[in-house]
Symmetry: C2
Subunit: 362 residues, 2 copies
Amino acid sequence: MRPYNFSAGPAAMPEDVLKEAAAEMLNWHGSGMGVMEMSHRGKEFGQIYAEAEADLRELLAVPSHFKLLFMQGGGLAENAIVPLNLSRGETADFVVTGSWSQKSAQEAARYCTTHEAANTKAGGFTTLVAPSNWQLSAKPAYVHICSNETINGVEFHELPDLKALGCDAPLVIDFSSHVASRPVDWTRVGLAFGGAQKNLGPAGLTLVAVREDLLDRALPICPSAFTYKTVADNQSMFNTPPTYSIYIAGLVFKWLKRQGGIAAMEARNLAKASLLYEAIDNSSLYVNRVDKSCRSRMNVPFYLRDERLNEDFLTGARSRNLLQLKGHKSVGGMRASIYNAIPIEGVQALVDYLRDFEQTRA
Amino acid sequence: MRPYNFSAGPAAMPEDVLKEAAAEMLNWHGSGMGVMEMSHRGKEFGQIYAEAEADLRELLAVPSHFKLLFMQGGGLAENAIVPLNLSRGETADFVVTGSWSQKSAQEAARYCTTHEAANTKAGGFTTLVAPSNWQLSAKPAYVHICSNETINGVEFHELPDLKALGCDAPLVIDFSSHVASRPVDWTRVGLAFGGAQKNLGPAGLTLVAVREDLLDRALPICPSAFTYKTVADNQSMFNTPPTYSIYIAGLVFKWLKRQGGIAAMEARNLAKASLLYEAIDNSSLYVNRVDKSCRSRMNVPFYLRDERLNEDFLTGARSRNLLQLKGHKSVGGMRASIYNAIPIEGVQALVDYLRDFEQTRA
């Protein structure tokens, strides 16, 4: 049996996907070529691309007036690419709820005026502010949130309805670390972006879903390869796309469909998260400090109340084939990322270990 | 036997590399993880990265005062990233010898004044101008060349010596399509960049080799993820790097070392190119229009003098397992890209087919 890998990203992949990729490595569907070796303009890769795009659109129920772009650079590059494309050099609003939205606001300040509509840093990024209490600027070019903070473990369980707040700006969501774990209410979204390396596929691929009316607002200094309209007009092939990563993501999409799609994944993810949070909450040794109303279903940071036990905990985990549980260096402690590819059995194995480790230290 | 794949990129990979990658897909070196699943900050990927960097530095004999960066976005993104990092908004000179250097000059104009030191478009991009005849500007921030034009099949067999021309600007070379096919004279280079998808590995990985004194000249509008100093200071891990692509490139580097290194590859590439150009030159049906002094060893465009035979030619090639010979849409005709991963046997098979096809049509 393979170990359970709780890495925050790059992260565990479905075993079936890795097996398919290995089997097809030298010869994709009788073409005589591995996928890595195909021209991105040939009919073979054209089919791979078209299926990946269609499967993702179906899975996430992306409306037809959104373009799906397969780009490069990850979330950190998008922190610049989004304001380069959407800000018009005006004011953009940021709801700062953790490390990622904070970085997004900092980077955007190169290209526009940034305004913090809310900031929960004072509380250690353990909660959310209700949208009705956000201090939006008068006419933001867009409003940015990170809908799941990978490091801090804070998740928006409902996307804000900006229109209901009297704001007609597009909502930008960084959904890197929970894309495909739950449905998306596209009526509330203008643009969504995410690095693939958590729930979709390999690092080096970035997904952008952008409403068509927002495509053509880029600043003249935006590099062509990162101008959404240019990328969209060229079916993500203005520059050579990360072909192998798109292929692997396409295998993940087909795997997700076999699992029953996003609704089925959401039910599983709810069950997995409940199991783990309950085990933490019911223990005397472990603690998760995030408000229950906004705990992430994907990234579960937790601390040992006695931090001197951290190394023992990690060593013991590895001996049980529970890998990559160390927390992010900026916050310390532990973190279990329980993305789509982690089955409930993996979470159960972790919960069993949490209990056993606590008992031996009691 | 696998077909021979003459794609210009993404392109043929060494069969041994694909086999290794397939064998390790689910479990890299007993780690219990596939490479795609590893945190880029873990010790396993740290080892993969360090070995890839060291092997590449050794293979290309990169001096210690150059940084090697593993980036994303390909050559087209670098067309913006280079001037964002090096131009200071001043004047940059471009030697336009084909489609790629032309695109580079066009994109740079977003960020600086561009000056064409030479342009061979009038001759159909089939020749080079001697550096002594370049019209360099008074004090360029840098001088850009594409040292091998993938589409037009024109190669600099010697890098220009700017100092000998009385110019102390750094030379920037786009070596995407001939990196690792021949040694590089680093004494003449300030910065070299290349997409990996021709001679190094999968699409989605971009190699940049930059002299340390050029690291810290970026414009304030340069995105952090593409600022060379930021990338260098973070060992290419400011943003999550394309980990799997770096791993595959690392396997290619080890394969290159087993082949005898770059000098051995150069000897093979010379032999391969000679074999193919001789066959073309000695035929009545095929023609390559590039001056013999600057023909590319990697990308060999050729035309059938009777273009009505094009489809028959390609169909016959496929039936002999000779794949992806169609020329770039912008120039038509045929193109055989004979990168490192194409063995001499592959070129011989192509030459045999050229002869047989011509005979049946005589």
